[in-house]
Amino acid sequence: MSEDFILITGRTREQAGGLHKGKDSEAYREATALVEMCSEDMARLAIEDGQIVRLRTASNQVEVPVRTGALPSGMLFIPMGPVANLLIDTETEGTGMPSFKGLTVKMELT
């Protein structure tokens, strides 16, 4: 099973708190290595909280646990950090800014 989602990345309180503990700390890793999905999509795809899914873009792929989040259907959210960034392309369209928000990812069950 594979389905396209729109991915956005961004700041969370847990990510901010974790970075002070150290980028190699468990707190930071737990805060950044996850993906949020709305409960409707989770129910439709029979995905449970904590279940590992694979996300794939042209740049790379990651496997992360799912957490319920306040999102519209068809959208995923990953806190900013090294896991999310593996999926981000270096293309900046002449601005210096990569597409950290709004990129299409394929989500697969593992």
């Binding site: 970075l19 190699d24 999926l87 392309d89 900046t92 601005t95 800014m97």
Partner: protein, 424 residues
């Protein structure tokens, strides 16, 4: 003996809250009050114990590390200096001086946060104000593509939604608040109105608002997923408010159209000034990223992505911005100042940074320090060093240390690197 230091500034984000109370005992911070959850770690997780610099993970004395850094930079054909946003203005000036001397490219974290906002400012101008004006005057607040409830935790209470001022004595009850975003963020919960846009539709919604304000008819029922009637209502509120302010964030700069989104917003705000006082303010993330823009602009004429390779400053977002330089493998050495690009750049750019000799100055260890050739553990401005930072509204704030200074500052180290480069 316990010492209580009042009116300390937290340097985590662009709010630069300067009312923090810090209790110090035996040269250690034992308690911090008023600080938010995001900024607390600046004070309680920072260990100010002096540490020696390292070369390839081996502890060395400061002189040896300075000489090694200077040799790496001097040997490089195309050195990149990057970061700057979590250090003080005094160090930022030295970074620009070093770039000028080396003929290096210098870029700041602006390029991956509000770089597109800088491009829009250059195209349109920035109808802006201070946070003091917001607190005292603003009766209509819009938060567009930003989520202060996660990123700037005291913004609502200190400067915007809940703050009380001369013309807003009732605080929250004197203001109307809109949150405009692609998802119902925590910030949306405190708004009077939440407009949920379809992803990548900001530009068309902004253009439609400009059209409505100019008296044009919008013939479709919805724009970007928002009913046109709702946009007409918003436009009327904007035209009839006393003092409106739009706070804008990465939702505009990081999604499709980037600087075009911001340019359209700035145009909208400019045009609203025909009807009411209206301003826009970028929600700056790092504590002194606004200062990095200021310093680079007053030193070179440009806010980020500047090359000194030809002996004079050239501006080139997309060409001299760090992600592009690394993606094209054009940088053959890097000096990172108070930043962690390995954690925050796209994977391929992070990997390339690991392939070139890198020097880093930072009070903390991070993912970039782990792979750097030379690491300088410097003092933390605002905790054990004094300096100057710019708040998100470009008001300069003097940072006072709360602990005795035991480490060299970024400015000290950069000064020594500049002198060592002269000797190469």
């Amino acid at each position: 003996m316990k010492t209580i230091v009042e009116n300390v500034t937290c340097t985590f984000c662009g709010c630069l809250c300067d009312d923090i109370i810090v209790e110090v005992e035996d040269s250690r911070i034992v308690r911090v009050r008023r600080v938010c959850a995001n900024g607390r770690g600046i004070f309680v997780d920072y260990d100010p114990t002096p540490r020696r610099p390292t070369i390839a993970g081996r502890e060395v004395d400061w002189h040896e590390a300075i000489v090694e850094a200077a040799m790496i930079l001097d040997r490089a054909d195309s050195p990149l200096i990057y970061g700057l946003s979590s250090t003080a203005v005094e160090a930022q000036r030295k970074a620009v001086e070093l770039a000028d001397r080396l003929g290096a490219v210098i870029d700041t974290t602006s390029s991956v946060c509000h770089g597109p906002t800088g491009l829009a400012m250059q195209a349109v101008g920035e109808p802006s104000c201070t946070l003091g004006e917001v607190r005292n005057r603003a009766d209509l607040l819009l938060f567009w593509g930003c989520n202060p409830a996660a990123s700037h935790l005291r913004h609502f209470r200190r400067y915007s939604i809940m703050s009380k001022g001369t013309l807003t004595p009732k605080g929250r009850r004197d203001r109307t608040v809109f949150v405009i975003d692609v998802r119902p963020t925590a910030s949306a919960k405190v708004a009077d109105h939440f407009l949920q846009l379809k992803p990548d539709s900001d530009f068309e919604v902004l253009t439609s608002l400009r059209a409505i304000i100019k008296g044009e008819k919008i013939e479709v029922e919805k724009v970007g997923g928002v009913p046109t009637a709702t946009l007409r209502d918003l436009a009327e509120r904007m035209k009839n408010c006393r003092y409106g302010v739009v706070f804008m964030g990465m939702g505009l700069t990081m999604s499709r159209a980037r600087d075009h989104n911001v340019r359209e917003l700035f145009n909208l705000v400019c045009e609203l000034n025909q009807f009411a006082r209206f301003s826009v303010m970028p929600m700056r993330g790092h504590g002194n990223v606004a200062g990095a823009d200021q310093v680079l602009t007053w030193q070179s004429g440009y806010p980020f992505a500047v090359s000194f390779a030809r002996g004079y400053p050239q501006y080139g977002p997309g060409e001299f911005s760090a992600v592009d330089m690394l993606a094209r493998r054009e940088a053959d050495a890097a000096l990172i100042l108070a930043s962690d690009p390995v954690a925050h750049f796209p994977g391929a750019a992070s990997e390339q940074l690991k392939q070139i000799p890198t020097i880093i100055l930072d009070p903390m260890t991070n993912l970039t320090t782990q792979g750097a050739q030379v690491v300088f553990p410097t003092a933390c401005y605002g905790v054990d060093a004094t300096g100057t930072s710019y708040r998100m509204d470009n008001v300069a704030i003097r940072l006072r240390p709360v602990l005795p200074t035991g480490r060299p500052t970024d400015e000290d180290v950069l000064n020594q690197v500049i002198e060592a480069v002269k000797q190469c």
